[in-house]
Amino acid sequence: MTNNNNWQGPKKLIEKPSPSFSRMAFSRFFRHKLGVFGLAIFLLFSLAAILSNQITPHSIAQQNLRNRFSPPTIRRVIPTGISASSSISVLTMNNGEIYSEDLVFGIPSWYQNLEEQITTPPIIAHEYLFIGTEENNLKALNLINGTTEWKIDLESPLEKIWKTSEGILIRSGEKFALFNQDGEKISEVVVAGTLKRFFGEMNAPLIINGAGELISFSWDGEKEVLSKFKNPSPEIAFSKDKKVYYFANGYLYSYNLISSESKKLGLTPRNPSEPVYMNIVGETVFLAFKGGLTMGFDLEKKEKVWERTHEGEIIASRSGEESRIHTYWNNGRHRIINLETGGITSSRTFTGFSDIHLLGTDELGRDVFSRIVAAARISLSLGVIVALISVSVGTIVGATSGYFGGIVDSIIMRFVDFMLSIPSLPILMLLTYILGPSFETMIIALSIIGWMSIARVVRSQTLSLKEQDFSKAAKALGATNRRIIIRHIIPNTLAPVLVAMTLQVAGAILSESQLSFLGLGIQPPTPSWGNMLMNSRQYLTTAPWLAIWPGLCIFLTLISINFVGDAVRDALDPKLKRS
């Protein structure tokens, strides 16, 4: 084994303990600050392991891959859009189905089927979900359970809904109309022409119409043409920070609302088709085109940073955590696009720390914290079980061998010597290979390797104990050998065995992680600190934190056990106390 946890140093003899020995040892242990500290850490880990299901926000069962917003029926109907607030996201389908997802826990929330066609993208505003349905209805749904709170019949088809500070704004026919959250109409204005894009503040609304004019209007009906993007005419636009960014004829432009200047920002796609979607997140312009082309344009560097084509067409999107954007496609796909690279992250993979994911997520979007805790359960129970088995076997063998002496002793000890001279890590690798890697295998293999050192310790104790008066007296009183071993010898070897046992726990945890690191330990998807560490090896440049946490846990466990071991040794054997 790599770690020299097994070395014992020169063997020291322990005298027959006095009656108050255990109490004294106890108090000595608690005077050992590092020991108490180690014990506290170890207990904390154990507690975390025992309560793993309670303390993790994402239970292991919930960590499956369906834990995403992709209902199974999605591909047979077409989503009309998506809207999200800080806590909930809602996806509506043209057939009237509405799916909602709890964004805090990343799990599906409620489901509604209106059984009529939904014609607009949904808008979450003022604690309601607003949608337009067939027969010119505007509906407001309850965000908590999806029931319809109120609805209004409009004269002409509802084209689009926007959120405003007082309520909502709708475009229906040639009219813009403002409603408050209870469905009362506040004002209305007629602005003719096809609408390309609406943006700006509610008190100073701006639109781009089909003729490429940027028009501002006020709610009393006044209109003013601010600019006419004649050649080229904007195909899609987005406004941000008093600027209108628009895409036209294969180029991205910006229009400054204050200085009224138009600027060409740069060349965009190689083969532009009709743009269908635009969004700006941070400094990145996200553009999607017919035919599945997506593109990222960096406003600072003023250059295209990536370009990718995916199957299908985007119909809706919402910005996600960090620089990610959730896109929904007409073929039913939900793709999360990383705006820095344009790549799809299949789920919430490799996110850093957040409120939802305390330690971030791994390559499959699994919550690292939950896995660490679940792995603690595996690793710690493995360590303890192996130590218990090794101690039981080692004590019995050692006591028998030491007590009977003679031929029994020399056969057993030769065997122990033989076992100890087999190189342990290679043999462990071999054993796990033969037995097939699993939790049980690890226990068996590690116990096979572990009991010898304990047997040695117990034997040397027994040798001295059996010569002492109390065992001789017991023998004289006619006690059987078995009784003497069990009642007199074993209890008195407890002190060094305890020390050896702590080393066993540490050794087993370390060996497990090493074997898992070589791919021979606990097999995924069951998490163990070792296989998490192994997994992190290939993401060392992309997601180094994946390597930090499991390793840190192993380290903390080992160091706390070593502290405890040290304290136990000092407490039980005052002669050895080093200060």
């Binding site: 084994m1 790599t2 001279s421 560490l533």
Partner: protein
């Protein structure tokens, strides 16, 4: 004394025999058939080809026959068998890897020794000083840190972030052939694996050196020496150190085979083409004669160093009787 040494050496031989038998048996108990796996990769391979290969490699023979044949080769021809995968004698195959591992283990051994001993002594002499606390803390760290994690951290910090050291391998190509450049290049590749492998032994020895030194300087003869007015320097280096360092040396002896085992992990982290990595490969590909040879090399070293440590210990400690 000599009788004791000879007897211990004689005891070693049956142990090695048993180890070879046990290892051979275990290797043969491995599930799976590497030849059958070849069929997955080669669409032209047929069952007849498989049977033929099995016959050529003697896999159709019973276990005891194969063991005897192997043993015969080892004893009479100093031949460890042929690699099924590489079709060359095992001795030819592993020479290079053994050499690489030797460099790794030897350098990290030297590093640990030359760091651990002086610092251990220093800590003991300046007990309760800030430096002592620091080094004690460091030794706890080194003792508990899992070496694969340490390796990953070092790799991330020095190779990926700072780009000071190469990410893997054991030598660059097209290094000037002069000795000095070659040596530097090797060291450049070795430095991180060396630290990783040496860390736990370094910490262990440091701690042990400190405690034996502390014990020794409390002994009566040191007090007597002090009372006699001998210079403190002389007391420490002439009397105390000599007595404190001997038990450490036996411990150090035992550490070499352990480091050999630990090299498997270190070599895996740093993709260092040593014995451990070869062992891992041969295990997965079930190239059994290669696995066998490597386990036996390590076993021989374990037994040998145990023996050396025992003899050394017996020699140092007159209380041990040679019976």
């Amino acid at each position: 004394m000599w009788v004791y040494v000879i007897r211990r050496i004689l005891q070693v031989i049956p142990v090695l025999f048993l180890i070879s038998l046990a290892t051979f048996a275990l290797l043969n108990a491995m599930p799976g058939d590497p030849l059958a796996e070849l069929m997955m990769a080669d669409p032209d391979m047929s069952e007849e080809d498989l049977a033929n290969l099995r016959r050529i490699y003697g896999l159709d023979q019973p276990f005891q026959m194969r063991y005897l044949r192997w043993m015969e080769g080892v004893i009479f021809e100093r031949d460890l068998g042929s690699s099924q995968q590489y079709k060359v004698p095992v001795t030819t195959l592993i020479a290079r890897n053994v050499e690489n591992t030797f460099y790794l283990v030897f350098s990290s051994f030297i590093l640990s020794l030359f760091v651990a001993i002086p610092i251990g002594i220093y800590s003991a002499l300046r007990q309760y000083s800030l430096a002592d606390y620091f080094w004690t803390g460091f030794s706890f760290f080194g003792f508990s840190v899992p070496n694969h994690w340490l390796g990953l951290l070092l790799l991330f910090l020095f190779s990926v972030q700072l780009e000071w050291t190469p990410v893997g391998g054991f030598q660059s190509i097209r290094v000037p052939p002069d000795f000095f450049s070659q040596l530097l290049d090797r060291l450049h590749h070795l430095i991180l694996p060396m630290i990783t492998l040496g860390m736990s032994s370094l910490a262990g020895w440091m701690r042990y050196m400190r405690s034996t030194m502390l014990e020794v300087i409390r002994e009566d003869y040191i007090r007597t020496a002090r009372a006699k007015g001998i210079a403190e320097r002389k007391i420490i280096y002439k009397h105390a150190l000599r007595n404190a360092i001997l038990p450490v040396i036996t411990l150090v002896m035992m550490a070499i085979p352990m480091m050999l085992g630990g090299a498997v992990i270190t070599e895996a982290v740093f993709v260092y083409p040593g014995m451990g990595r070869l062992f891992w490969h041969s295990l997965i590909n079930q190239d059994n004669f290669v696995s066998m040879a490597i386990i036996m090399i390590i076993a021989v070293l374990v037994v040998l160093f145990n023996l050396l440590a025992d003899i050394l210990y017996a020699w140092i400690d007159p209380r041990i009787r040679y019976d």
